[in-house]
């Protein structure tokens, strides 16, 4: 600020140094850089699971059942069915990441659109938000049951159920912050130029609602993975042989006292995913905010 306000009096070289871009500013924060690295590794591991895995995803050998981690040839041990934990984790990562990312993206996008529409077109606000309240009154588990009854259980059932459960939450958060932004003079200034509603929402309304949206999306990502595990546990999601981190953790529950690694390792991976996405989301929110640029 001080520099800008004196700029008129004391001439500053007209060629200012180019400001760093969003990615560069993101990577300047060590925590953000580490979080991004972890996310990239996890995503790559999930994508390359068939090539990285030492065994097939369903190969089991009951003779090595409950092998402890550290055993040569089986660094992370084996589960109750004698399946290699590394293989299971890699494939589990696939389903879990797909589930988390897809339902937050799908539910979050629909929810954000509903929120913007409700804040911008006040005429439909009451109607939209009462529909959201209705959705909010059902627990995610119930959506899972209903959708499973129609589509049968599976990972897409979970994605759909979690997306629907995410919509009203995102809609409320976006509506709230959009209502605040709508009262700002720059929205009225934009109106006064005669621009279309779509342009006004995309250029003036939405960018100024990004912070709460990002925070909620990253928090929700963690919740969704845990909820997805719960749905899997109830038998609505990934079915028995399919690997999914939440399902693996709940399978490991039976062996918690004599082979804790079966439950603990998937939980540690879930913890890492959720933490990395949260930290990355926070850093991204800051990097996208021009007010925090130096």
């Amino acid at each position: 600020m001080a520099e800008a306000s004196t700029a008129v009096a004391t001439p500053v070289a007209p060629s200012m140094p180019k400001r760093p871009g969003t990615l560069k500013r993101l990577l300047r924060e060590p925590i953000a850089a580490i979080a991004l690295l972890v996310v990239v590794i996890l995503v790559l591991a999930a994508l390359l699971a068939p090539w990285l895995s030492p065994t097939g995803p369903y190969d089991n050998d009951l003779s090595v059942s409950l092998t402890v981690p550290g055993t040569p040839g089986m660094m992370l041990g084996a589960d109750g069915q004698g399946r290699n934990m590394i293989t299971r984790l890699l494939y589990g990562l696939r389903s879990t990441l797909l589930m988390g990312v897809a339902s937050v993206l799908l539910g979050g996008t629909v929810g954000a659109l509903v929120g913007f529409a409700a804040a911008f077109y006040r005429r439909v606000d009451g109607l939209l938000m009462r529909i959201m309240d209705m959705l909010l009154s059902f627990p995610a588990i119930l959506f899972g049951l209903a959708i499973a009854a129609i589509m049968g259980p599976g990972i897409f059932t979970i994605i759909l159920a979690l997306s629907i459960a995410t919509v009203p939450l995102m809609a409320r958060i976006v509506r709230g912050s959009a209502l605040v932004v709508m009262r700002q003079d720059y929205i009225e200034a934009a109106r006064a130029t005669g621009m279309s509603d779509a342009r006004l929402i995309m250029r003036h309304l939405a960018p100024n609602c990004l912070s709460p949206l990002f925070v909620f999306a990253t928090l929700r990502f963690g919740q969704v993975i845990l909820l997805g595990s719960a749905l899997s546990f109830l038998g609505l999601g990934a079915q028995a042989p399919t690997a999914e981190l939440g399902a693996m953790a709940s399978e490991g529950r039976d062996f918690l006292f004599f082979a804790p690694h079966i439950a603990v390792i998937p939980c540690l991976v879930i913890f890492t995913i959720v933490l990395a996405f949260n930290l990355l989301g926070d850093a991204l929110r800051d990097a996208l905010d021009p007010r925090l640029r130096v």
């Binding site: 800008a4 003036h204 100024n208």
Partner: protein, 354 residues
């Protein structure tokens, strides 16, 4: 040539409803209640009055940022209140607005260059390169430097931001600029800078200003004509010289004398207005000013005075404006000493800049 802007009987009533399901209207907030005025090309009309008297609402009604309850707004012969969306969109190119709060009127996520270029992009004026050139030209016009286009609003001071807001309003080369208290959020030293810029721009570009203010020193510097509003209605309209020299409405007199005076011996020469502005929910019957008017008589309580021409170019809404006592002599040309000093300060700044 007809007036650029003709406003007649403009009103905005906000209904007050009771009940949750079976709503019924129990009253109305009469924010603006039948306002009429005209604005000539190249002229500055100042709209003055206390806070809450409907000045800003009038401004937004003129630009049709809110829909009027009644009345018409004719801009260059076209009835703004009856235009469809498409017609309104193209008309918006010719009327722009500058806001009071320079901290809230710029989108924090757009660079200054993008913000100034946007109105041109919306109206399809020029291409990217020509718009960039125009942004540079506008920045120079309002006294900013070319590299400022790359910066974000938070990197500027209040006065600079207000000048950016002015540049944005001028980008589409409008005929009318509505200024909603453009300097009241700025320090006095910065006010001079912005006010003089606006005056220079008017002379160079032939702009018409609808200038909303409550600071009479600024108004005296800027305006050609002044319209005084009270509780959603016009009290007095006249040329600046007439209105400051011979205020014909008791409310105008009260406004002029309300400018603070540092010399205690001169205080008390004017009786200040008692009480508060009545609620626009329950506008007093008769003259809406009678509850606070020191000269109120029986007729004022029952009969609402029309805005009538009392001298050429001067209109007053008061039954007894001819029989009011002479203006107290404590005011120099209608302005107190402090306000006069500030006015001199503005003029000095202007001469220095020239």
């Amino acid at each position: 040539m007809s007036a650029l802007l003709e406003v007649s009987g403009l009103a905005k009533h906000y209904p007050v409803k009771k009940g949750i399901i079976l709503q019924k209207q129990v009253g109305a907030v009469r924010a603006v209640d039948g306002v009429s005025f005209t604005l000539q090309r190249g002229e500055t009309l100042a709209l003055v009055g206390e806070s809450g008297c409907g000045k800003s609402t009038t401004a937004r009604l003129v630009l049709r940022l809110i829909e009027p309850s009644a009345g018409t707004v004719r801009f260059d012969g076209q009835d703004v209140t009856r235009l469809d969306d498409g017609g309104m969109r193209s008309l918006r190119r010719r009327m722009q607005i500058v806001f009071q709060d320079p901290y809230a009127s710029l989108n924090p996520r757009l660079t200054v260059g993008d913000a100034i270029a946007e109105p041109m992009a919306v109206h399809g004026i020029g291409n990217d390169a020509s718009r960039r050139a125009k942004v540079q030209e506008l920045l120079a016009l309002v006294g900013l430097r070319p590299f400022h286009a790359e910066r974000y609003p938070h990197e500027f001071s209040g006065g600079q931001r207000q000048r950016i807001g002015i540049a944005r309003a001028l980008a589409v080369e409008p005929d009318l600029v509505v200024c909603d208290e453009p300097v009241s959020a700025l320090d006095v030293s910065i006010q001079a800078q912005v006010v003089n810029l606006m005056k220079d721009l008017q002379a160079r570009l032939g702009l018409s200003y609808l200038f909303i203010a409550h600071d009479l020193a600024v108004v005296k510097h800027m305006a050609d004509r002044i319209a005084v509003m009270y509780l959603g209605a016009m009290m007095e309209v006249g040329t600046k010289a007439e209105l400051f020299a011979r205020p014909r409405h008791p409310y105008t007199r009260a406004l002029l004398s309300a400018i603070p005076h540092p010399d205690p011996s001169l205080r008390g020469s004017v009786t200040p207005l008692g009480g508060d502005v009545p609620s626009p929910l329950a506008v007093p019957p008769g003259c809406r000013f009678h509850t606070r008017c020191p000269f109120a008589q029986e007729r004022c309580r029952s009969e609402a005075p029309e805005l009538r021409e009392i001298a050429p170019g001067q209109q007053v809404a008061c039954h007894f404006s001819e029989s009011l006592p002479e203006v107290a002599s404590a005011q120099v040309g209608g302005l107190s000493a402090v306000a006069a000093r500030r006015l001199a300060l503005y003029d000095a700044a202007r001469r220095k800049a020239a």
